[in-house]
Each structure stands twice: as structure tokens, then as C-alpha cells.
């Protein structure tokens, strides 16, 4: 394989093009995936903000029924996996799943540990830190946002239920969104990129093979056949339409063959003449 021009030329080209394309494919896909996930986290954060704003009035009025109804309605929306509101002690105060209400949550659990890792819990989180992903019991990928419910002046001074102004966080909202649509979009992008990469690879390799064959391999074969034939038959015609370099080689070979032929004929003639003289 490596003895022939085709093998020597095509192996590095194939290797380089395939490898570089694969690297670019993986890096591009990773970058796109990051952008898509960051966008979906941003949207989930916005949704968490909407939920907090929606429940704010009911919380101020300490209207549990209204809060429950709002959470039930939001969780009925397609793609929303769960909605929970925890109080300061980590007990589920409201949930889209009624069986979870009044249950204590472990502070070491995923989603809680982000703030409760140290002795003094963290009270402010960035958008990306609020997010976590996990697979639920049904096997669906879920993106969950844990948003703190801050103690605003109107909460601390509300007549209905008093929170001390020193208490920074009153509780947390935990909302889980299905990642199905995001993963489907990523899978579609992956397939499209893969098809595009394979097509580019095939076209590049096919282009290189075609050009190599047309420009180098076929003329080389012609030259090789010419040299082989002219060894048997001196009158073999020189191949036409060869590239400049190969044409020069063919021309040199042609003149060498003519010279060799002349020398052979002269030596044959002199031997013949010598034989005639001896006979005389």
C-alpha cells in the first residue's frame, strides 16, 4: 500500500482531513451545547422569577389556597416537572405534588448543598449556580432551578405575618423543567453536523483522489506502459498530453532508446562486416 504513489499521498491527506474535521466537529458541538444549555438555564431562571412574582401577592396576604392554586396551574404547564416552595427550615410548604407537603428536605441533597455547603449558608447565587440537572425516577432529564425568596422590606413590615428584617432568605422556590425539547434540539444539531462533516470529508477525499488520479497517476501509468512497450518494440509512439515534467522524462527516454538502438545496429553491423572479411 505504501509502495505506490496513491498510498503514500492519500494516507496523510485522509488522516489529516478526517482528524481535523473530527476535532472541529466535537469542539463546535461542545460550544453549541454550552450556548443552548446556558439559554435554557436563562429561560428557566426567568420562569422561576415569574413564579416568584406571581406568588408574591398571595404570600404577602398569607393566602395558602391562592398559592396552592398558582403552583398547581403552573405545574400543569407542558414541560414543567415540579414546583416546590420551601420555608426557612427546609420543609416543603407548597408543592405541585401534594404528598410532598410538610416533608423535611435534607440540606445535603442536590440543589440544597450549593448554598448549605458551609456553616453559614450562601444567600446570593448567580444564574448558573441556581441550576442543576438530574434524571428523575421516570428517566427524564430535568433542569431544576433553586431560587431564594428574599426578605423584602414589605415582607418584614407586613401586618399579616412578621419576618425579622435580619432574616435575609425566607425560603426557596424549586422548579424543575423537562430537558426533553433541549436534548431533542441538540440531537438534531448533532445529526445535521455529522451529516455535514461526513459530506465534507467524502467530497474532500473524492476531490483529492480524482485530481491525483487525473494529474499524476494516469500520466504515470502511460509513461510506465510506454517504457515497458518500447523495450519490446522500438517504434512505440511516445504518449501525448503528458504533464511537462513527465513529458520531459518520456522525451529523454525516447532519445536514449534511439541512441541505444543505433549503437546496437552499429555493433551488429561491425560484427557482420568482420564475419564477411574473415570469410574472404
Amino acid at each position: 500500500m505504501f509502495d505506490k504513489i496513491a498510498g503514500r499521498a492519500l494516507v496523510p491527506v485522509g488522516l489529516v482531513v478526517t482528524g481535523f474535521l473530527a476535532v472541529c466537529f466535537v469542539l463546535l458541538y461542545a460550544a453549541i451545547k454550552q450556548v443552548v444549555i446556558r439559554d435554557s438555564i436563562g429561560q428557566a431562571n426567568n420562569l422561576a422569577g415569574i413564579v416568584l412574582k406571581s406568588t408574591r401577592y398571595a404570600m404577602m396576604k398569607s393566602d395558602s389556597d391562592l398559592n396552592r392554586a398558582i403552583i398547581q396551574n403552573i405545574s400543569a404547564q407542558n414541560g414543567v416537572q415540579h414546583v416546590r416552595i420551601f420555608n426557612k427550615r427546609g420543609v416543603v410548604a407548597f408543592s405541585s405534588k401534594p404528598e410532598e407537603v410538610n416533608r423535611q428536605v435534607d440540606k445535603k441533597a442536590e440543589g440544597c448543598i450549593v448554598c448549605h455547603e458551609k456553616q453559614a449558608p450562601v444567600t446570593t447565587l448567580g444564574n448558573m449556580q441556581k441550576a442543576r440537572t438530574f434524571t428523575n425516577t421516570a428517566g427524564d432529564e430535568v433542569l431544576a432551578i433553586t431560587a431564594p425568596i428574599y426578605n423584602d422590606p414589605e415582607c418584614a413590615n407586613a401586618a399579616c405575618h412578621f419576618h425579622p428584617a435580619t432574616q435575609k432568605v425566607l425560603g426557596t422556590l424549586d422548579i424543575g423543567l423537562s430537558q426533553e425539547a433541549t436534548l431533542a434540539a441538540l440531537a438534531s444539531i448533532r445529526v445535521q453536523m455529522l451529516i455535514f462533516s461526513i459530506l465534507t470529508l467524502v467530497l474532500t477525499i473524492a476531490g483529492v483522489v480524482t485530481l491525483l488520479k487525473m494529474i499524476v497517476l494516469v500520466p504515470m501509468r502511460k509513461l510506465q506502459e510506454y517504457t515497458e512497450r518500447s523495450e519490446r518494440n522500438v517504434d512505440t509512439l511516445r504518449p501525448t498530453d503528458l504533464p511537462y515534467e513527465l513529458d520531459k522524462i518520456a522525451e529523454s527516454y525516447y532519445f536514449i532508446r534511439i541512441k541505444l538502438n543505433e549503437i546496437e545496429q552499429q555493433s551488429f553491423k561491425s560484427v557482420k562486416d568482420a564475419g564477411v572479411c574473415t570469410n574472404k
Binding site: P12, L15, G19, A22, V23, L27, A31
Partner: protein, 184 residues
């Protein structure tokens, strides 16, 4: 008298054969060195596969990425590392192809393993190794395969030339005249 004559002839013969023998030995040593050197690319590739296995297992023996980040500061973002990786792959391929074209005797395989291990570590520190593992693996495999091919073809050509010189030496008792290559 006859013995003295014999000794004299033997000494002249030895003197004539010693340079030839040393030349022959030199050529054989060079062939041996080239054959050993031709495997250099494969050794580098094997080392890279070993490093990749460690990366695949998420460098379990290293401290957690957060611990290292807390000690050394934030690593470059995965996007910056990816851009540098593309630049590195492109440059390494171009360099290797240029060396292949000019027939240079360059031993650069093992340093690539170091660069690639660096990329694995930067992604590990940025907690983006899972997403970018195959990119570094693909880059390393491509660059090291190309380097192996370059070293192997370079050594094969040199070995063939040395074998021709050896045959010439055995036939004529001297090395063929050094010819300047028409293509250099």
C-alpha cells in the same frame, strides 16, 4: 623468512579490511538506530493513549477541580481552551507536513503528548472534560499518527539508502561517492 612474509601480508590485509569493517559497522549501527527511531512515533502514541485513559477516568488520583481552582485561581474558559486547541492542531499538522516535505530529522513526538495532557488538564480544571474529551483525543490521535507516519517514512527511506551503501561497500570495498540530492 616465509613466516615474516606471511605476517607482512596479513598486516597489510588487516590494515585494508579494518577501515572497511569499521565503515560496515558504522552503517550497521546507523541502520539499527534508524530502525529503533522509527518506532518513536508509536511509543508517543502509546503514551498518549495511556494519558487519555487517565483523562477518561476523570483523573481520579488528582484533587477535585474546585480544590485546584481555589488554590491556583480560575482556569481559562473552555471556549478559550478550545480555540487554542484548534490553533495547536492546525499548527502541529502544518509543521508535521512541512517536515515531511523537507525530509527533516526531527524528534518532536513526545512533546505533543505533553501539550495534549495540558489540554486535558485545563478542561478538567474548567470542569468541561466530559464535553471536550473526544476533541483532545481526536487532535492527539491525528497529530501523533501523522508524526508516526512522518518518522516511519523518513526512517524507511534512510534505511533503504544505508542498505544500498552497505551493498556497495561489500561489492567495492568503499562507500559510494556522496552525491548532493537534486531535490534538496
Amino acid at each position: 623468512m616465509e613466516q615474516a612474509e606471511k605476517n607482512k601480508t596479513g598486516a597489510i590485509g588487516e590494515a585494508a579490511s579494518t577501515p572497511q569493517a569499521s565503515l560496515r559497522q558504522g552503517l550497521l549501527d546507523e541502520i539499527k538506530r534508524l530502525r529503533r527511531f522509527s518506532n518513536r512515533g508509536l511509543w508517543a502514541l502509546s503514551l498518549f493513549l495511556m494519558v487519555s485513559t487517565l483523562a477518561w477516568r476523570d483523573f481520579w488520583f488528582l484533587p477535585a477541580a474546585q480544590v485546584i481552582t481555589a488554590a491556583l485561581g480560575a482556569p481559562p474558559t473552555p471556549l478559550v481552551t478550545s480555540l487554542v486547541l484548534v490553533l495547536y492542531t492546525f499548527s502541529a499538522i502544518i509543521l508535521s507536513l512541512s517536515r515531511m516535505m523537507s525530509g527533516l530529522d526531527h524528534k518532536s513526538s513526545f512533546c505533543h503528548v505533553g501539550y495534549l495532557a495540558g489540554f486535558y488538564l485545563f478542561y478538567y480544571f474548567a470542569e468541561a472534560l466530559a464535553d471536550n474529551y473526544w476533541a483532545v483525543f481526536g487532535a492527539g490521535f491525528t497529530v501523533l499518527c501523522l508524526e508516526s507516519y512522518r518518522i516511519w517514512t523518513f526512517c524507511s527511506e534512510r534505511v533503504t539508502r544505508k542498505l544500498e551503501q552497505l551493498a556497495f561497500l561489500d561489492r567495492t570495498g568503499r562507500l559510494p561517492p556522496e552525491e548532493e540530492s537534486l531535490y534538496d
